[in-house]
């Protein structure tokens, strides 16, 4: 079989040859994704990272003096959020590899990156807001050339799929790794912040944890959410393949699904029929 025949045969196996998925995508959908991605925070400029590092130095010195304290909680200047400054990462040597575990998902990402830098690894970790069941997990990774050599897993194995806790992300990195990589860890959202990584709405710590919400009436689900301190600013209703985003729907509608939009805001998928 010639080179061209082989490729022609493979082309004829194209799963979407007769059904282009892009044809089903509405302009609104593209625009929504484009707009919302453009509104997400970008990595901090280097100068600002330096400023954070300088602010942290005295704290780390104090931390060394009080070595017995496992975790030191401080208020970061210019940021109301409290940071737990324990060992952010755990490094262990396994032959030609380094096993890195994200021990403290709440730590400042500058701390992660400092620890990577100390080991001459061009790897950065970033924290992005996620819904409660995703906090501490690593839902995304960016990478440079040859970073395929990095293996990502979790401890205990299968905890992501099972949704059990604790669930510690870990990375197996060749000791001679010279490429770059950008790993992302989900952190708790701050008030009013958009959620970037959403878990199942009935997952651990989520707005509808423990509720069998599918096919419940909107009014019933709203009552539960209100009791738990959540609001529903918007719905998604699909009729004849067209999705609208009304601010309200009749309480008799049925709930199909939902996701956390901000720390205390839920968007519900609803339909008139069960």
């Amino acid at each position: 079989m010639s080179k061209h025949e082989t490729l022609d045969l493979l082309r004829s196996l194209d799963p979407i040859a007769d059904d282009d998925p892009a044809a089903a995508v509405q302009d609104d959908s593209r625009q929504e994704m484009l707009t919302r991605i453009g509104q997400t925070p970008t990595p901090q400029p280097i100068a600002r990272k330096g400023a954070v590092r300088r602010r942290l130095v005295p704290v780390l010195v104090v931390g060394t003096v009080v070595a017995a304290a496992a975790v030191l909680v401080v208020e970061r200047p210019g940021d109301a959020r409290q940071e737990a400054l324990g060992p952010a990462l755990s490094f262990s040597s396994e032959g030609d590899y380094l096993r890195v575990r994200i021990v403290d998902p709440e730590a400042d990402s500058a701390r992660y990156n400092k620890e990577f830098k100390k080991r001459h690894l061009n790897i950065t970790l970033e924290l992005m807001p996620g819904s409660p069941s995703t906090v501490g997990l690593s839902p995304a990774a960016g990478f440079g050339p040859n970073s395929d050599n990095i293996e990502q897993s979790e401890d205990p194995a299968g905890c992501v799929a099972a949704g059990t806790f604790p669930c510690v992300p870990q990375f197996l990195i060749p000791k001679n790794y010279s490429g770059e990589a950008q790993l992302v860890i989900s952190r708790a959202a701050r008030p009013g912040e958009d959620i970037q990584f959403g878990g199942r709405i009935d997952g651990r710590g989520e707005a509808l944890q423990g509720v069998k919400f599918k096919n419940m009436r909107v009014s019933q689900v709203l009552a539960i959410l209100k009791q738990r301190g959540y609001t529903v600013p918007e719905y998604r209703v699909t009729v004849d393949n067209y999705t609208s985003s009304p601010k309200t729907v009749p309480g008799t509608y049925f709930v199909r699904d939902g996701f956390l939009h901000k720390d205390k805001e839920v968007i519900l998928f609803a339909s008139a029929k069960r």
Partner: protein, 198 residues
Amino acid sequence: MTHLLTRTRTGSGEASPVSEPPDPRLARFETLFTCHHDDVLRYVVRRLDVREDAADLVAETFLVAWRRLDDVPDKQALPWLYGVARRVLANHRRGETRRHGLADKLRDDLRTEPPVAEPALELQHAAEVLRQLSDADRELLSLVAWEGLDTTQLAAALGCSRNSAAVRLHRARRRLERLMDQTTTSGRQPAAVRGEHA
């Protein structure tokens, strides 16, 4: 090109839409997204069993691109995006995909089940052989046959040199051809072959 991102932001009351010049970073991302969204979507859908799952993976891919915009090469942006999507897809297969609020409309668009047609006998055989290849070989061949990449683009997608991409492609194609020949002459199902692994 109309800059949707810039327009949305200036329309929120922060500044006058007339006086504020477009943010070059937003404009660049919008160009990247507009030009390549559909290609990335096709790439992901081709490799998934459940079409609507593609929404979160496309969102994830462009989220990485947005956050690493300075790293996106001007000349090989689409292969670079394929490289990101490949990694995102690998995470998805390990069950590590999260639902993105920003992909909910796209998820709805993709919810319709595509028609499933029974392929011709020759194609069934080829499909079976393709499944027997290693993931890395299958990905190499798919990038060339389905996404239409040449060797330079393949190198950008895989993060390796052009020579290395050419050699890996050559080897993958030979393994495929050998399997095709073996199964055609023996009429037996092939055993899984060794190949490059992702």
